[in-house]
C-alpha cells in the first residue's frame, strides 16, 4: 500500500534521507522510531508530496506520488503532531468541510457517527474547536480519515503531548483502523506506543533506516536497549 523505493532526499550537502526502502501493507501499522532529524518527518512529507525526492520513488496503492500526486491523495489521510483545526468552527463543521474537500458523503448523521466512533461525544462535537484538547482534535483527525475512507494513514508524532489515557484511546483507534485494512505509517518517539500499536517497527538515524523488526518478535525492554545502542555515536 505504502512503498518507498531507494528513496533519498538531500538539502544541499545535507542528506535528510538515504536510500530508504520501506513497505507498509494493508492492515499493517509501521512505526518509525528515531531521534529528531532522523528522517521520519521527511519520509512522511515525501509520501504526502509536500517535498520532492532527490532520487528514488514513493508509491501509494501502486501509484507514483511524484507522477500522479492528485490521484494518490485520494488514498491517504494525515494527522500531524499538533492537529490545528479551524477554531471558530465546531468539530462537526470541521469534519464536514474536510470531507467536502475529499468529495465524500457529507451526510450529517454519517459524520456524527464517525465522530462518535472516533471517541468524540456529540455535545463536544457541536462545540467550537477553540475549546478542544489536543486529544479531542486528534479524534476529529481520525474521523476525517474515516470519512475519507482512506486506505493509508500517515501520522507524525500523533501521541506526543497526549495524556496516557488519551494516548491509549488513540492507539485503540489505530488498531481498529488497521483491523479494517488501513495501512498506517506512524513517526513517533514513543517506544512503548510503537511496540504496543505497531505491527512493524523501524529505527532511523541520520536519514537511514538502520533496523526493522516485527513488533511481535521484540519485547519492549529489548527494543529500548537496541534503540539506545543504535543512538550512540
Amino acid at each position: 500500500m505504502l512503498e518507498a523505493i531507494d528513496l533519498s532526499k538531500s538539502y544541499g550537502t545535507h542528506k535528510a534521507l538515504q536510500d530508504l526502502n520501506l513497505r507498509v501493507a494493508s492492515g499493517e501499522v509501521y512505526c518509525l522510531l528515531g531521534a529528531n532529524g532522523a528522517g521520519k518527518t521527511t519520509t512522511i512529507n515525501l509520501f504526502l508530496n509536500f517535498i520532492s525526492p532527490s532520487s528514488g520513488e514513493v508509491k501509494i496503492n501502486g501509484v507514483s506520488v511524484n507522477k500522479k500526486p492528485v490521484e494518490t491523495k485520494k488514498f491517504i489521510a494525515y494527522i500531524p503532531e499538533n492537529l490545528i483545526l479551524y477554531p471558530d468552527l465546531s468539530g462537526l463543521e470541521n469534519l464536514t468541510y474536510f470531507t467536502a474537500l475529499a468529495s465524500k458523503s457529507r451526510d450529517i448523521d454519517h459524520l456524527e457517527n464517525l465522530l462518535q466512533k472516533s471517541g468524540l461525544h456529540m455535545d463536544a462535537a457541536r462545540k467550537r474547536v477553540s475549546g478542544y484538547s489536543k486529544g479531542m482534535r486528534q479524534k476529529v483527525g481520525i474521523a476525517i480519515a474515516l470519512a475519507k475512507e482512506a486506505k493509508a494513514l500517515l501520522l507524525d508524532e500523533p501521541t506526543s503531548g497526549l495524556d496516557p489515557k488519551a494516548s491509549n484511546e488513540f492507539s485503540d483507534l489505530l488498531k481498529a483502523l488497521s483491523g479494517d485494512g488501513t495501512a498506517v505509517l506512524m513517526a513517533t518517539h514513543d517506544l512503548f506506543r510503537a511496540q504496543d500499536t505497531g505491527s512493524n517497527i523501524g529505527i532511523m538515524k541520520k536519514g537511514q533506516l538502520l533496523e526493522d523488526y516485527l513488533a511481535k518478535e521484540i519485547t519492549l525492554p529489548d527494543l529500548e536497549k537496541r534503540y539506545l545502542d543504535l543512538m550512540k555515536d
Partner: protein, 470 residues
C-alpha cells in the same frame, strides 16, 4: 471544490467578531455617505431647477432697453448635476456651478461649493467615492491578508492538500469569498444609490447602463485588490509580513502615486496664472474687432467688407444698422480668441492627463478615478464641455441681440427692444456628452484598469500554484 472553500471562508469570517465589527462599521460608513450624498443631490437638484427658472424669468422680465445693454447685463446658465455625481463628486465642489453669459467676454464658472465652507473643507468629505476608493480596499486587506498565511502558520493547509484540494482551487475559493463580501457592499451602494436617485424626481436621469458602467469600474478596482491580496498572502512568510506588504501597497496605490503624479503633472505642464491667461487674451484682442471700436484696422477692414457685400459706398447707405453688424462680428471674433486660449488650457490639461495615464500603470486608482469622474460627469472633461457649450450659446445669444439691432436700429435715435425680444431668445439646452464619446476619450484609462485586473489575476493563479508548504 472552489465553492466549498469560499463557503468555508465566509463562515469563518462571519464567526469572527472582529471581522463582523469591521463589516458593520464599513457598512454604516457607506450608508452614512450615501444618505449625505443623497441629501446634497436632492438640494442641488432642487436648487438647479429653481435657479434655472429664476435666471430665465429674470431675463424675460427685463424692462425695455437697448438689446446690447441687455447683452451686457447678460443671463446665467446653471451647470446641471448628473445623478451619478451622488457617487463621485469629482471636482464639482471646487469648480463653479454658474456661468454668466454677457457681451464681449467669456467667463468661467463661478460660485463653487467649497467657497461656502471653511478651509477645512479641503480635508475632504465622507462620500461614496471615498469609501469605494480608500475604505473598501482597506477592508478587503483586513479581510484577506491572512487568507493563506494563517493556513500555513497553523498548518491546516497540509490537511487541505491531503484532502485533495489544489492550491489553485484554494486560491480561487478564497478569492471568491473576498469577492462575495465585496459584492455585497457594492450592491448595497449602487442599487440603493440608483433607486434613491430616481426617487428624487430630478428631470435629469442616468440610465441603468451608466450606473452599471460606474459600478463596473469600481468592481474592476476591487478585483485588482483582491488579486493582490491573495497573491501576497500566498507568497508571504507570515501574516504580519503579508499585512505589512499589503498596507504598504495600499499607501503607494491610493496615496503616494496619485499625489506624486499630481505634482509631476503640474510641474511638467503648468497652467498659466490667471493674470497671464488674461494678459494673453487682452493682447490678442487689442488689435482685433471688439464691437465698440470703429476705428482700428480690423474694424476698417470689416466695414469695407460689409460695404462691398451690400454694394454701397458708405455706412449711411446700408439698409441695416452697421453698429449691430459690427457688434455681432466683434462677438464672433472675441469668442474665437477665447476659444483659442481656452483650447490651450485644455491641451495643457490633456498633457497633464498623459502623465496621469503613465502613472496609472503604477497605481490602478488613477485610471479608476478618472473613469469614475468622467462617467459621473464631475471631471474637467464635463466642466469644459459645459463651458464650451455655454460659450457657443453665448455667441448665438449675443448674435441674435446684435442682429436685432442691425435689423431695427437703422435711422433710429435710440433703439430699444422689449419683452417680446427677450422671450424670443431660445433657452440654453445643454446636451450631455454621449457616453460613447466619454468612453472613447478614456480608452487608455479603461485599458490600464483592464491590464491591472488581468495581470494581477494571472499573478494570483500562477504564483499560488507553487507555495512552499514545508
Amino acid at each position: 471544490m472552489i465553492g466549498h472553500v469560499a463557503q468555508h471562508e465566509l463562515r469563518r469570517q462571519f464567526r469572527d467578531g472582529r471581522i463582523r465589527t469591521l463589516l458593520i462599521v464599513v457598512t454604516l460608513m457607506l450608508i452614512a455617505s450615501l444618505v449625505l450624498s443623497l441629501r446634497d443631490y436632492q438640494l442641488a437638484s432642487n436648487q438647479y431647477q429653481k435657479n434655472l427658472s429664476q435666471a430665465r424669468k429674470n431675463w424675460e422680465s427685463q424692462s425695455t432697453k437697448d438689446p446690447h445693454d441687455a447683452a451686457h447685463d447678460g443671463t446665467y446658465v446653471i451647470k446641471p448635476l448628473y445623478p451619478l455625481a451622488m457617487i463621485d463628486k469629482g471636482i464639482k465642489q471646487f469648480s463653479g456651478q454658474v456661468v454668466h453669459l454677457g457681451a464681449h467676454e467669456r467667463k468661467q464658472s463661478t460660485l463653487n461649493e467649497a467657497k461656502d465652507h471653511s478651509g477645512l473643507f479641503r480635508f475632504g468629505e465622507l462620500t461614496p467615492s471615498f469609501i469605494l476608493t480608500y475604505v473598501i480596499p482597506l477592508l478587503l486587506i483586513f479581510l484577506g491578508y491572512n487568507a493563506f498565511t494563517e493556513e500555513k502558520e497553523k498548518q491546516t493547509i497540509r490537511l487541505l492538500l491531503v484532502q485533495g484540494a489544489l492550491l489553485s482551487q484554494l486560491a480561487l475559493g478564497k478569492w471568491l469569498a473576498l469577492f462575495l463580501q465585496m459584492i455585497g457592499l457594492w450592491c448595497l451602494l449602487f442599487v440603493a444609490a440608483a433607486i434613491s436617485s430616481y426617487s428624487v424626481g430630478s428631470e435629469i436621469s442616468a440610465d441603468v447602463s451608466q450606473w452599471m458602467a460606474l459600478g463596473g469600474i469600481y468592481l474592476f478596482y476591487f478585483i485588482i485588490f483582491i488579486n493582490l491580496i491573495i497573491w501576497i498572502s500566498a507568497k508571504a512568510s507570515s501574516s504580519g509580513m503579508s499585512l505589512t506588504v499589503l498596507l504598504t501597497l495600499w499607501i503607494i496605490i491610493t496615496l503616494i502615486i496619485p499625489k506624486a503624479s499630481t505634482n509631476l503633472a503640474g510641474w511638467s505642464y503648468p497652467f498659466p496664472t490667471l493674470q497671464t491667461f488674461r494678459d494673453n487674451i487682452n493682447e490678442d484682442q487689442t488689435n482685433g474687432l471688439n464691437g465698440h471700436n470703429f476705428w482700428n484696422e480690423a474694424a476698417q477692414d470689416f466695414q469695407q467688407k460689409v460695404l462691398d457685400e451690400y454694394g454701397v459706398e458708405s455706412i449711411e447707405d446700408l439698409p441695416v444698422a452697421y453698429g449691430g453688424l459690427l457688434l455681432a462680428e466683434g462677438e464672433k471674433y472675441e469668442s474665437e480668441i477665447y476659444t483659442k486660449h481656452f483650447d490651450l488650457l485644455q491641451s495643457q490639461y490633456e498633457k497633464q492627463r498623459s502623465i496621469y495615464r503613465w502613472c496609472g500603470l503604477l497605481s490602478p486608482m488613477l485610471p479608476v478615478r478618472f473613469l469614475s469622474m468622467a462617467i459621473a460627469r464631475t471631471d474637467y472633461g464635463f466642466l469644459w464641455h459645459f463651458e464650451d457649450e455655454a460659450e457657443k450659446y453665448r455667441v448665438e445669444f449675443n448674435t441674435a441681440l446684435n442682429m436685432n439691432i442691425a435689423e431695427n436700429a437703422k435711422g433710429v435715435n435710440r433703439y430699444e427692444a422689449g419683452r417680446e425680444l427677450w422671450a424670443s431668445i431660445p433657452e440654453f439646452d445643454y446636451k450631455w456628452q454621449p457616453p460613447q464619446e466619454i468612453l472613447r476619450d478614456h480608452t487608455l484609462e479603461f485599458a490600464s484598469v483592464l491590464l491591472w485586473a488581468i495581470l494581477s489575476f494571472l499573478l494570483t493563479v500562477f504564483f499560488t500554484r507553487n507555495i512552499q508548504i514545508v
